[in-house]
Symmetry: C2
Subunit: 325 residues, 2 copies
């Protein structure tokens, strides 16, 4: 079994041979720009790993892996318009570098190109892989809409938040694994269990993201912490703090996170971090992560393959959840 790095290198070598350029240039340049910017390539790596677990022939899963990465990039291009995000992977977003119309249309084309790659896989797998991508596409849109709704929603419950990140983030990791396992011709029950494994790891992955934004070592993180505080983002940490805080602290949090009211950035970050520390929010979040990690391991233990073939998934999960950026 290959490891994450080896699958990543394989995937990048294949991806770099693809060109997403074409005519009209203004439509295709943003696609090439976004896809070639890099990133963790987590979804394609999961897809390749799951395929390899079953038949060892990752070449067969390559088109699907590219489709998943394209789909993920499509969501980033459109989300960045909606979130007015200026920077992605250290570079200007498409919406910022070109304009909003270009980002809409290039995003649409990236989505269509994802399906083009699906249409190129072995015909016998298309009817099984297509609904996996399609269901997850719909769910990711639902997740993004819930996230947008939360911006103006006064209070968001823990369960609403968890459902949002399940849809927005976790199911795509789950679908990537399931698609790879499908190409590898895994049995149906294994496909469901590998999906569940991915879904739970995806939940832990997003909670880790929320944690890093506040508590990361900035040198290793490569950027400043506290961005979610500045942008008033409703994260697990904030929701948990609202839940556990005394009435006075809760009022203060409400004040600090009132939309369109601005505070001194540094002071706001400092004050909120202090509140999180007092309420032991880091530990609460880590406990939730651990809960999902354990659920993931239970799903993995139900998969009917040799233990050594599962090691790649355990390694990827460890890597994702121990990361410092």
């Amino acid at each position: 079994m290959r490891d994450y790095e080896s699958l990543l290198n394989y995937f990048n070598s294949i991806l770099n041979k693809q060109t997403f350029l074409g005519k009209p240039g203004k439509l295709y340049e943003p696609i090439e720009y976004t896809v070639k910017l890099g990133g963790k390539r987590l979804r394609p790596v999961l897809c390749l790993a799951a395929c390899e677990m079953y038949n060892g022939n990752i070449e067969e899963a390559t088109q699907t892996a590219i489709a998943l990465e394209l789909f993920h990039n499509f969501t980033l291009i459109h989300d960045d318009i909606m979130d007015k995000a200026p920077i992605r992977r250290g570079q200007p977003t498409v919406y910022q570098k070109w304009d909003s119309n270009t980002a809409i249309l290039s995003g649409d084309t990236t989505f269509a190109k994802a399906y083009e790659y699906i249409s190129k896989i072995d015909k016998k797998h298309i009817p099984d892989v297509l609904p996996i991508l399609t269901q997850v596409a719909i769910e990711v849109c639902e997740g993004q809409q819930f996230d947008l709704d939360f911006e103006t929603q006064i209070s968001v419950s823990e369960s609403e938040y968890l459902e949002m990140i399940r849809l927005k983030t976790a199911v795509l990791l789950a679908a990537s694994l399931k698609a790879g396992a499908t190409i590898g011709e895994a049995p149906e029950t294994d496909k469901e269990n590998i999906y569940k494994f991915g879904e739970h790891i995806g939940m832990a992955f997003q909670l880790k993201d929320d944690l890093l934004d506040i508590f990361a070592d900035e040198k290793k993180f490569g950027k400043k912490t506290g961005n979610d505080i500045v942008t008033n983002k409703k994260t697990y940490l904030l929701i948990k703090a609202f839940e556990l805080a005394s009435p006075e602290i809760r009022n203060r949090l409400s004040e600090l996170f009132t939309p369109n009211v601005s505070f001194n950035k540094e002071e706001k970050i400092k004050e909120v971090k202090e509140i999180y520390k007092t309420l032991d929010i880091e530990q609460h979040t880590k406990n939730k992560m651990l809960e999902y990690q354990q659920k993931a391991m239970t799903a993995l233990s139900s998969i009917n393959i040799d233990g050594k073939n599962k090691q790649i998934l355990i390694n990827i999960a460890d890597k994702l959840l121990d990361r410092e950026k």
Copy 2:
């Protein structure tokens, strides 16, 4: 063989049984709103007609017909953001009624739902139908980008314009026919010829659209003529007028169509219509339409089925090209 009205009624009865509502409401309400607003339902009707030409069982093509209508609606939702269009089918556009972010995300979901319907068709047809939808999706995006590029491009040639409308409009009619013929298990050469028929009819259809915008009988048209003149749209009529005009008239046209320079609407419409009349632009456009109609008939004559089974396509083509709105 059924006629257009009968296929349309069948399709609407099926479509009205579908619900596109779901959670979160803000994501799904715009989809239900757009799809149920109506329209010509041209693409699904073409799909059903082509299927019936071969095996007579249009029920099998229903999911594909819905997918094509959803895809078309997705393009309208996004195009209306890009074109800042306030009204569509007599009602506020999604972008106007909700907001731009909602239109982006609901549009994306509509696109994904189109693929969901494709994933529900008989598995044996999925590998052949999927690439038809995917190729046309990419081409329609290319067409829209060319159209956006033309807004700031000083001069657009006739051939550039024709390629743009081929991509933006014609190929979707062609793909609708080909997808229906695929479900009907038409032979490969017939599928290519029915595609060509649709492509040529699609070209004539768009030229008819350009003509109606200027020369329609307003009572029958249901709205004012001259909108393309007011919005500085580069149409076949305008491009042909630039080509045929004397240097003086050409300069005047350039003046009249300078971006961001505003003229009295009524006077501008009147003056441009006069120029079109002097240059016999209506006849030139009709000649071009006729050229495409003839090409369409040649493609149709190459199809190896009984003449009476082709009648439905001839009737639809006549209906589209003789319409007054």
